[in-house]
Amino acid sequence: MSLRVTQPGVLALLQDRGRFGQHRLGLTNGGPLDPTAFAWCNRLLQNPADATCVEVSFGGLHLEAGVDTSICLTGANMPLAINERECEPWEVHPVRAGDSIALGFAERGCRAYLGVAGGFEIPPSFGSAATVTREQIGGLHGGKLQAGDLLPCATRRDCQRLYLSAEQRPHYSSVATLRVIPGYQDHHFSRLQQRRLFSHAYAVSARSDRMGYRLEGPAIACDIDGILSEGICAGAIQIPPDGQPIVLLNDRQTIGGYPKIGSALSLDCAQLAQLTPGGAVYFAPITPYAAHNALHLARSYFNSQTVAERKP
C-alpha cells in the first residue's frame, strides 16, 4: 500500500527529523531544511514528531494514492490539488485509492512538506530515513524521488481533519535575518570585517543547495587562509578565500578546513532555506544565552498553539 509518484518535480526527498550521532563515520544529518514546517505537518496529521514526510523543493510533485488515507501539506505556499480540485494547505485532507495529488510551484518560500497519516514507512539507514543524495543514503534508494516510486504507507480512515488557521501559519518572504552566534575562528576576523558582515545585505546565489547556501555581497577578509580540518556544526558560516559567506546546512560535509566566523541559529536557517536565488540575507550577532532562549521560546510557542478541526 502506497502513494505512487507520477511526476517527481524538481527535487522531492523523503525526510524524517534527520540522522544524528553518525558524524564519526562521516555521515551528515540530512533532515528537513525547515524543521518548523515539517513539525507542523506531522502535528496536524497526529503523527509521531519523527515520522517521515516528503520535502518538496520548488514544487511539481504529483502522486496517485493507492490507499485510503489522509495527507497534509505545510511550508512554502505551493498550490495543492486533489483530483484537480484546489485544497487548502496546512490542513488534513482525506484521499481515496485512485485519487491524484498534485503540487504546483511555490509562489512564496521554497520548501514544502507533504505528509501522510502515520508517516511513510521507510526502513531506517543508520537510524534514520532521511535522504542525503550526496551520500546515496536514506529514502527509498538514497536519491530524489523518481516517477514510478512507491511511497509505502498504511490505510488510515480515522484521521481528524485538523488545520492551522491562516493567522497562525508562518509567513515566507524574500528576506531572512540570520541571528549569528560568533564562534569558531571569529577572533581571526577583525572588528572591521565583522562589522562589514553584520551591516550589509547579501544575496542568495544560484549555487545554493541542501549542503549550503552561498551568499554574494561585500567580501569578508580573514587573517588566516585555512585551518586544520575540524568538525562543522549545522548553520556554520564558512568564509572561503573569496570572502563570500557560505551558510552550511543539513547535507554539509562534517569536517572542513575553511575559517568560520560563527554559526546561524537553526530557526533562521529554516527561513534562509525558504529563500530562492536573489533573496536577501542579513546577519545579526547574538549571544549563546539569547540563542538558547530563542530555541526554548520557539519550542514553547509551537507547543502552545492550538489547532482546529474541520467539521464536514
Binding site: 562521516g26 552566534i181 564562534g183 556544526c233 560535509q253 562534517t254 554559526s263 540563542a291
Partner: protein
C-alpha cells in the same frame, strides 16, 4: 586547551594547533571522556586532527553546563592513559594499472616505483579524521619524499578503493567520487559498507598499515579493475 563556542548547541575543543600523533591521542582521550561525561545529553562528536566538536541537546542542557562538565572531565584527563587504537592492515595492489599517478609521482620524487611502494607501505599511519564523504579516513603522515600536491585538475571520477596521496596525507576512497588526490594503487577492502557491521574497518585514532599484494591476490580479495 581551548573551548570555544561553535553554534547554538555546539562547542569546539582545541587540543593543539598542529597534526601530530600526540595531539591526536589527546583528541581521542578527550572524546572518550566527553562522551562519558555528557551521556544522553550528547548528540554527536566530531574528532579531527587537533579538535573535538561537541554537539549537545539544547532542550536538555545549555552551554554553561556543558562547558563546566567538559572542563571537569578534562581536568582528570592527563592521568588516564589514552587507549591505543587498533592496528588495521589494508592490502593494496600498487601498479600503474591500479594507480594512474604512480609513475608520475615516482618520477617527480626521483624514486623508482618500487621505492615509492616501499615508502608508502613501510610505515604506520594514524587515522586523524573521518569526513569529506562517509568512510573517508584521513591518514597521516606520508613519508616526505612521496608527499605530492593535489592534481591541478581533479578527476571527474576516482574509483572506489583507490589509494591516494595528497601532501602528507593518504586515504582509500570509500566510494567512487570526484577527487584530486594522486592515485597510487587500489585496496579491495571496502572502507564504507552500509550493510556491514561495523560499517567502517577503521575509526579515528586507529593505526593503519598498507600491505602490498599482487594482481591475483587483489582480484581474489574481490578487487575490481
Amino acid at each position: 586547551m581551548e573551548l570555544h563556542s561553535a553554534g547554538e548547541n555546539a562547542l569546539i575543543l582545541y587540543l593543539g594547533d598542529s597534526a601530530s600523533p600526540a595531539v591526536s591521542t589527546r583528541v581521542q582521550a578527550a572524546a572518550v571522556a566527553v562522551e562519558a561525561a555528557l551521556g544522553a545529553d550528547l548528540i554527536d562528536l566530531v574528532p579531527s586532527y587537533a579538535s573535538l566538536l561537541i554537539i549537545y541537546d539544547p532542550m536538555a542542557t545549555d552551554h554553561l553546563a556543558v562547558r563546566a562538565r567538559v572542563r571537569a572531565c578534562l581536568a582528570t584527563l592527563a592521568e588516564t592513559a589514552a587507549e591505543e587504537g587498533r592496528c588495521v592492515v589494508l592490502p593494496v595492489y600498487y601498479h600503474p594499472e591500479a594507480g594512474e599517478d604512480l609513475e608520475a609521482l615516482a618520477q617527480r620524487a626521483g624514486l623508482s616505483v618500487d621505492e615509492v611502494i616501499a615508502a608508502h607501505s613501510g610505515c604506520e599511519y594514524r587515522v586523524y579524521a573521518i569526513g569529506f564523504a562517509p568512510g573517508f579516513a584521513y591518514l597521516g603522515q606520508v613519508d616526505e619524499r612521496i608527499a605530492a600536491p593535489r592534481l591541478a585538475t581533479p578527476r571527474q571520477r576516482v574509483p572506489r578503493g583507490a589509494v591516494a596521496i595528497a601532501d602528507r596525507q593518504t586515504a582509500v576512497y570509500p566510494a567512487a567520487s570526484p577527487g584530486g588526490w594522486n592515485l597510487v594503487g587500489r585496496c579491495p577492502v571496502r572502507m564504507f559498507d552500509p550493510a556491514a557491521q561495523p560499517a567502517m574497518p577503521v575509526a579515528v585514532g586507529d593505526r593503519v598499515r598498507f600491505e602490498p599484494i599482487d594482481r591475483a591476490r587483489y582480484l581474489a580479495l574481490g578487487g575490481e579493475l
